[in-house]
Every structure is written in structure tokens, then in C-alpha cells.
Symmetry: C2
Subunit: 337 residues, 2 copies
């Protein structure tokens, strides 16, 4: 065991795409757990589009990351020392430990995971926040039902890939929008989407005429921008749009592009509703159990894109996320074991 803890701290609020200089790599001695605390060695760090928002100053659905503090991140780790009654060395845990190698915690928000049920990275994706976001977005916000045509943007990402599969499990038609033939093929061939639209090669609006001939009943939006505007032109009467994210807009330096076609909501008597998964915390356990059961039954395919490199690779891996280079959940592995 190393004696130092390497950390990635926010050095500056980025303008546009984060730059290397927006981060500071720091080192400090590995902390010692006090009474009521555990010490975790972090093995996997979750990369999420939402991180970009956390880096901005100002109020949002969650406090911003303050300059000089360790970047917020969901992680998986092993308990290596514990003065906490509920955790023992050897426990594998999920926690918001941040972009660093070691962390002490009072156990708040720390959950034990069972690596024999699913690999550790799956607990950051399909069995973690992104899977839960898909679950509650599809079932609670959009209220997807049998026969609905459900269109998902960012469909090859961690949230979108699960959202489309849950829609299929519920008897809906799933149409994914993703960038590139590889992702689109994966959606249809491996995940069972009914159709996929490659927004880099196709006119989304036109492609939706074929893929959703009776209109879009539910649109699960992870990207915003032009794709949101294209889908707005194809809404069925009473359509429900879930605003889960807007990755195309997070790094915009000239302001967010609002949906010019929003008056389609009026024509279609449609709704657009924002969601934040945290609101469903009391139901995480039940939802994760259902997701785990679908995984075990083979009805749900989970894919993680695990990148090696340790915390010093965090910046590069984050850019990979914003470039849309990952398929499935993007995870940074820390340590060599």
C-alpha cells in the first residue's frame, strides 16, 4: 500500500470544454479513519456528463464543486480500515468518494455491493445512478406503457442504453439516437432496440418518419440541442418528454440553445418534464433489485467502458465522454489490481 493519496481537485471553473489547467493533481498522506469512519481504497470512478454542471459556479440541483476541493464522483472501493460499526475491511462499497485514490467517510451514502452478483463497474452504471435514472425516468416520469413509441437520445450512453431496454421490457417500441454506425448497430443487434438513428450520418427528423411513423409518444432526452428540436417535430398527441440532460449544451460557451420548436408542445398537447434521480432515493433499493433481476434474467444488457490510467487520466477520460467516444457506462479504473 502506497502511503500517499493522489487527488484531482477543481482549480478553475471551466469555460466551455474543461481544460487540463482547470484541474490540480494533489497528493496528501492517506487519512486515518477516526471513530465512526471507514477508509476506502478506490478502484473505480464514474464519469458522468452531469459532472460538467457540477463544475459551474452557482446554484443548481446540487451544490457546485468549490474551487480547491476534490472533484465529486461516484466511486467503487474496498474498505481497508474501519472504525465504523457497519463496515469491515474487505467490504466492497459504493460511495461518493470523489476523484482520488483513498477516502475516509462516516458511511453516509455508502452502500455495500456484492461483486459476485455483478462486476464492480456495473454498480456505477446499470445498478448505479445511471441505471436508476433510466428506471425512474422511463417508469415514473414518462410512464411508458405497452405500445408506446419511445425515442431515446444518447441511446448508447449509460442512461440511454438502459432506458431503451426498460422501454422494451415494458412492451414499448424503442428507437435510439446515437452517433456512429457502431453504436447504432449495438443498440439494435445487442440491446434489441427496434431502430437506431445515426445522427452523424442521417437527418434525424426524416429518419424519425420511418422509425416512428405514428409519432413519438415518449422522448427521453439526454442531449438537447438540434436533436431535441428534431424530435419535437414528430410528437404524437399527448407525448411526454423527459428532460434528463443536455450533453450537447453543457460545454456551450455562447449560451444554451433552447428548443425553437417548443410550440410543438401546444400542437401535440405534450409535456416536457425535468427529472433528477435524487428525488427517488427512498426507492433506490427496490429499483436496483428489479434492475439486478433483469440483468440476471438476461433481459437487460449492461456494458461498461472501463479505462485504465488512474486519477491522473481523469481529465482525458472526461473529454472522451464529451466527445461521445464511449459505449455504455464510462468508468475510470484506479490502481493496478
Amino acid at each position: 500500500m502506497n502511503s500517499m493519496n493522489r487527488q484531482v481537485r477543481l482549480a478553475a471553473h471551466p469555460s466551455g470544454l474543461p481544460k487540463r489547467s482547470d484541474w490540480e493533481l494533489t497528493e496528501e498522506p492517506i487519512p486515518t479513519p477516526e471513530a465512526g469512519q471507514l477508509l476506502a481504497e478506490i478502484s473505480h470512478i464514474s464519469l458522468d456528463p452531469a459532472m460538467r454542471g457540477w463544475m459551474n459556479p452557482g446554484a443548481s440541483y446540487i451544490d457546485p464543486v468549490e474551487i480547491g476541493t476534490v472533484m465529486r464522483a461516484a466511486t467503487i472501493g474496498s474498505v481497508i480500515a474501519s472504525e465504523h460499526p457497519k463496515f469491515a475491511p474487505g467490504d466492497q462499497v459504493y460511495g461518493n468518494f470523489g476523484v482520488q485514490e483513498y477516502a475516509v467517510s462516516d458511511g453516509h451514502g455508502v452502500l455495500k455491493i456484492d461483486p459476485s452478483l455483478a462486476p464492480a463497474p456495473t454498480y456505477l452504471g446499470t445498478l448505479g445512478m445511471t441505471g436508476l435514472t433510466a428506471y425512474f425516468g422511463v417508469l415514473d416520469v414518462a410512464k411508458v406503457k405497452e405500445g408506446d413509441t419511445v425515442v431515446i437520445s444518447g441511446a448508447a450512453g449509460a442512461v440511454g442504453s438502459v432506458a431503451g431496454q426498460i422501454a422494451k421490457i415494458k412492451g414499448a417500441r424503442a428507437v435510439g439516437i446515437a452517433g456512429g454506425a457502431t453504436k447504432c448497430q449495438w443498440l439494435v443487434d445487442e440491446l434489441g432496440f427496434d431502430a437506431a438513428i445515426d445522427y452523424k450520418a442521417q437527418d434525424v427528423r426524416r429518419a424519425l418518419r420511418d422509425a416512428a411513423p405514428d409519432g413519438v409518444d415518449v422522448y427521453f432526452d439526454n442531449v438537447g440541442g438540434d436533436i431535441l428540436d428534431a424530435v419535437l417535430t414528430r410528437l404524437a398527441r399527448g407525448a411526454r418528454i423527459v428532460i434528463c440532460g443536455a450533453v450537447s449544451q453543457y460545454n456551450a460557451t455562447d449560451g444554451v440553445k433552447g428548443p425553437s420548436n417548443y410550440l410543438a408542445l401546444l400542437v401535440a398537447r405534450a409535456s416536457m418534464t425535468g427529472m433528477v434521480v435524487f428525488d427517488y432515493a427512498p426507492r433506490y433499493r427496490q429499483a436496483a433489485a428489479e434492475l439486478a433481476a433483469w440483468l440476471a434474467e438476461g433481459r437487460l444488457v449492461s456494458r461498461e467502458d472501463v479505462v485504465d490510467g488512474g486519477v491522473e487520466a481523469f481529465h482525458d477520460v472526461l473529454l472522451k465522454l464529451f466527445a461521445g467516444e464511449n459505449i455504455g457506462k464510462l468508468v475510470l479504473r484506479v490502481g493496478s489490481d
Copy 2:
């Protein structure tokens, strides 16, 4: 009685604000009702922002007005001849007779009105489509309840003025946004709004901090554009936005301005829902009766801005509407009696 029927027909789909040349004034003999028809002499023509949308080609929530046909409009008239079993000469009626002086009708969508209960123009406003739009928007779409802070744009218009008063009747706090001190004073002094914001003189976003200190629970939007964006920054958790119209955008020649701040829906877990009053047709009668009762009890104030000039004034009066010069429901009077 004249022997000719003067009519305003759509001559061209306008680009931007309608021009005089987009209309054609025609004259044809007054038609004779056949079996099952009535002939109405039109006394009042409703002016509505929605008319601008009807003048565009292409599908929307209602068929466009075809080039060469009489402009669609809600009207009040008197039956002057009838071969229809349910209507007799002397009946005062509401009907979508269009911008002309006389019309025959098979009675479809024609309703008798009682001028002893309310003046004829009120049946185009508070007891007509605009009042019903306010009623269903506030009660059914926004589900306004006691204690809500309800913000209304276009608040001095036909829909907005009624929407704010219904919110008050339901025990909510009503904040109106309108252009000019006269309108704002009318909202507070005559209609009982709790506050009014003059968007021409005030920074709406800043003014909302005072007028809606705990945030906006319901936003009833008639205007879109910058005002929608300003209100989005002040949403309370779980806010409901009703998209009723977007008069600021109807004449835009460089495309509709989408709401750049729409991601506030996510932060606030808010929804934005489009409405069209036609969906509530089965409940018009019950709603109009309730509105009439509120009028009779003095709980609801109705104001109409009645302009003389006959059908040849239609173009000028329509521009008055888009310039926001009216207070309350804008109505064009036809004929001299």
C-alpha cells in the same frame, strides 16, 4: 338590410407581421339559407393572437386558412333567416362565421347566447374561447391550488386577465406581466392581482424576486420569448408551466426563439405542457356556466376593447392586437346598430 356581404379573405400567407396586401376585401350577394341552414348577420368579430398561426400554411392543431377563403374568426351575430329547426330569426348566436358581414351555417358549432346575461362581446371573451382557455389552463393543466404563486404573461389580454382572476378565486397569489403602467395598474386595482410587472419598464427576472419571493409554482405563458426565459429562472420545485401561446414569436421572421433556460425544468423538476382549448369541448357548457356565475357575483371582471369600423378595419385591428394596444378582449364591431 344591405344586399351584399363584404368579406375579408386571405390573399397570401404572411411573412412576419401581416401586411394589408395579405388580405383581399371581396363582396358577394348575401347567401340564402337552404333547408337545415340559418343566415346570421354578424355584429362582432373576435380578434385572437392565434389567428396569426392559422394564416401559416402547414399542419398545426387546426387546419390552416386556405388562400382565397374567408378568414376564420369567432363571431357573434343575429339570426335573420332560418330554415334550421333549432334557430329562429332574432336569435343571438355565437359561431365561427369568419371575417364577413353575413354567413349561412348548418348550425354546427353555433350556440345561442343570452344578451340579457352579458353583453355580446363578453361571449367572445370571458364567456367564449379565451375565458374557457383560461379556465381549463388554470384548473386542468396547471391544477392551481390554494397558496400557489401563479405568474401570467400577457396578463392584460383576454386569456391572461381571466386566468389571473381564476387563480385568485382559487386562493392563489396572482402576478401579472404586462406592457405598460396602465395595464399593470388595471391588473392590481381592478382585477385584484397581487402584483404586476411592467416588462417594458422593469427587468422581469429581478422583479419576480420581489413579486414571487418563494418562486413560481405556476406560469401561464401567453407570450414566449424573453419573458418565458426570465420566468424559467424563478421556478419553484415542481413548477407547472402552461404553454397557451407565444404572441411574441408569432410574427418572427428569423425563427422562433426557444427557451434557452429550459434546463431549469430539470433543476426545478418542473413541467411545461401545451394546451389547446378544443380538447375540453365536452365541458365548455359547465365551464361557461361557472364563469358566468363568477361574473354575476362580481368575482370576475370582464373587459372588452370593442373597436368600430366593420370588416374593412380587420387588418388594422389585428395589428393593434400584435402591438399589444388592447386591454382585455379585442373585438371588432360590424355594422352600425
